[in-house]
């Protein structure tokens, strides 16, 4: 076959060039989608947060006015304080429970294969389902409280979900129930990765179990602690469904979180500018946690 056949040559040429471009062509739709729907939308919301948008987007800039108003609104204060309480307790309690469950499960437990899925299944449920269950369990009229009364413990009282000072803590209970098994799974994976030889050596040197955990095992779990913290904190900041299902922000506005605030102000109260500014603050908070973490992960992989 003649190598100089022009038809064949240009055909082969085209195919080679196509092959060279194919990877980029295949990636292009996802890239375009990401640029428009994620980063373009972020830019748009950022822009709106500097405009006087009310019910509909407006393009008239008003400077930092929305942010100034945002931090004067009482409900935003409530939302931020609630987020502090909720995120703090949620992260700490989930981590402690998850860590102990993992350590205990790692002691050659009979029935581990039976227990582990039980600890983890709440992760498969929707927050709306979780919220529905806990809403009625904690409802003093039909749930735990009245059951205790019927069982003879007349003075038992647990009406936090109806108490505007305490309702936020009931959200913590449900959220911990949902995620602590997940933290357990992360710690368990970390524990299983620790070299048993090091532990045996330490034991021969006379280290007690407690010392081994404190000095050898826990320090080696640092990546798991970090991942747990990052994942839980970003879940806490995004929390929306669970609150809607359990208290719908109530009693009053006492269980509002930033995500509820954003939704209410944007779509119910027609204060889109303020809503947009609250969304920007949520994004910035998450970015402050996620960007350094992801950057470190990506750098490590290279």
């Amino acid at each position: 076959m003649a190598a100089t056949d022009p038809m064949l040559d240009s055909g082969a040429d085209f195919r080679t060039r196509l092959q060279a471009w194919l990877p980029k062509i295949v990636l292009a739709p996802s890239f375009a989608v990401m640029v428009i729907f994620v980063y373009g939308f972020i830019a748009f919301t950022l822009y709106l947060s500097f405009t006087d948008s009310r019910m509909l987007p407006s393009y008239d800039l008003v400077g930092w006015q929305n942010y100034e108003r945002l931090f004067r609104v009482r409900q935003w204060d409530t939302a931020i304080i609630n987020l502090g309480i909720f995120a703090g307790l949620y992260i700490v309690i989930s981590t402690i429970i998850g860590l102990f469950l993992a350590i205990f499960l790692d002691q050659k437990i009979r029935g581990e294969g039976f227990l582990r899925p039980i600890f983890l299944y709440p992760m498969a449920l929707s927050f709306i389902v979780t919220g529905t269950a806990w809403k009625w369990i904690l409802d003093p009229a039909i749930g735990l409280e009245v059951t205790m009364h019927r069982w003879g413990w007349e003075s038992f009282q647990f009406d936090w979900i109806k108490d505007s000072d305490m309702a936020i803590y009931t959200i913590v209970i449900a959220a911990v129930w949902q995620s602590s098994g997940f933290v357990m799974a992360m710690f368990l994976a970390g524990l299983r990765g620790i070299d048993n030889e090091i532990l045996k050596a330490a034991q021969m040197d006379g280290a007690s179990n407690f010392q081994m955990y404190r000095r050898i095992i826990l320090p080696q779990l640092r990546p798991a602690f970090l991942s747990a913290f990052v994942i839980l904190s970003h879940l806490a900041i995004k929390s929306y469904d669970l609150v809607v299902a359990m208290t719908d922000g109530g009693p009053g506005t006492s269980t509002w979180l930033p995500a509820l605030f954003m939704y209410e102000y944007t779509f119910t109260r027609n204060q889109m500018g303020i809503g947009a500014s609250s969304a920007v603050i949520m994004l910035m908070t998450i970015a402050a946690i996620m960007v350094p973490y992801l950057y470190a992960e990506l750098k490590e992989q290279k």
């Binding site: 990636l27 373009g40 002691q107 899925p117 983890l120 039909i142 749930g143 129930w177 954003m262 969304a279």
Partner: protein, 293 residues
């Protein structure tokens, strides 16, 4: 029985082990309790619940609440039961899972086996997009869905879930393919195999586990989504989570708690089933999404 086997470095006394077992069992009860309460109360008449018997076995068993939740309960204004919304969720989740998984597989393949300048940057941007609070995209998304005339439809929700699902599906496949021997790809290239041939013949046949992980997680996330459903499809096209929330929070008069619980189990059913059948992949996906794969 309680003596730790010899291949572990941690030994503990019988007292400690008893304590450990108690602790673990206690927590098992804590995790199971809400599910058990939901199931039991969905099978008893309302009067047993309202008279203070929520934490008790049903005295009289009935499937009436299930029938009501499925086909006659008041959702919003219509007494349709949850059935149409269950179908909505299926119609939304299946295509969205399929499309985002295919896209994720191709992206992961390109990003790991066809290096080009900026690939890490693109992946980083995709990765961050997994974690954004979706409040930041709600307003423009509402506008775009309106412009495309798919606001308030299942098509709109499919688009939304594909768009925001691609980040995670790419993450799964990228981490999985990163461990796949590149030499095999290069060898196939030398033998004249093209881009899609390599993907089809070499990558895909060994991708079974990660496809399972990706499908399971996309399905769980999309099925369980509430924010997008409530924002973009609150009417007839509402997904199951939104309908359940309407059922629980809008009933007037005497609240049919038993129907609420039956509805909650229906909403939890598909993802719970996936978890029971494929728990192994579920845990793997959990890890891949948090600790690096």
């Amino acid at each position: 029985m309680a003596v730790a086997s010899s291949d572990t470095a941690i030994r503990s006394s019988n007292v400690t082990r008893t304590f450990i077992y108690l602790f673990l069992l206690l927590f098992a009860l804590f995790y199971l309790m809400p599910l058990v309460i939901m199931v039991l109360n969905s099978l008893k008449p309302l009067s047993e619940i309202t008279s203070g018997g929520m934490i008790a076995m049903p005295r009289e068993w009935t499937i009436e609440p299930w029938l009501s939740a499925w086909s006659t309960a008041q959702i919003g204004v219509e007494p349709t039961g949850l059935r149409p919304y269950f179908i909505n969720s299926i119609a939304m989740a299946v295509p969205a899972v399929a499309i985002s998984t295919v896209a994720g597989a191709l992206n992961g393949y390109v990003l790991t086996k066809w290096h080009f300048r900026g690939a890490t940057w693109i992946f980083g941007l995709l990765l961050f997009s997994c974690f954004i609070p979706f409040q930041i995209v709600l307003i423009p998304m509402a506008r775009i869905l309106g412009l495309l005339e798919i606001a308030g439809t299942t098509y709109g929700l499919i688009l939304v879930h594909v768009v925001y699902g691609i980040g995670f599906s790419t993450l799964y496949f990228r981490n999985y393919y990163a461990a796949f021997p590149t030499e095999l790809v290069r060898a196939a290239q030398i033998d004249g195999a093209g881009f899609f041939q390599i993907f089809w013949r070499i990558m895909l046949p060994s991708s079974g586990p990660i496809i399972a992980v990706c499908c399971i997680w996309q399905f769980t996330n999309i099925w369980n989504d509430f924010l997008f459903g409530a924002s973009f499809a609150s009417g007839d096209a509402a997904p199951m989570t939104v309908a359940l929330n309407n059922l629980v929070n809008s009933s007037t008069g005497e609240r049919p708690y038993n129907v609420h619980f039956a509805g909650a189990i229906m909403a939890a059913g598909p993802t719970l089933l996936v978890y029971i059948v494929a728990g192994r992949y579920f845990v793997r996906g959990l890890m891949a999404g948090s600790v690096k794969g």
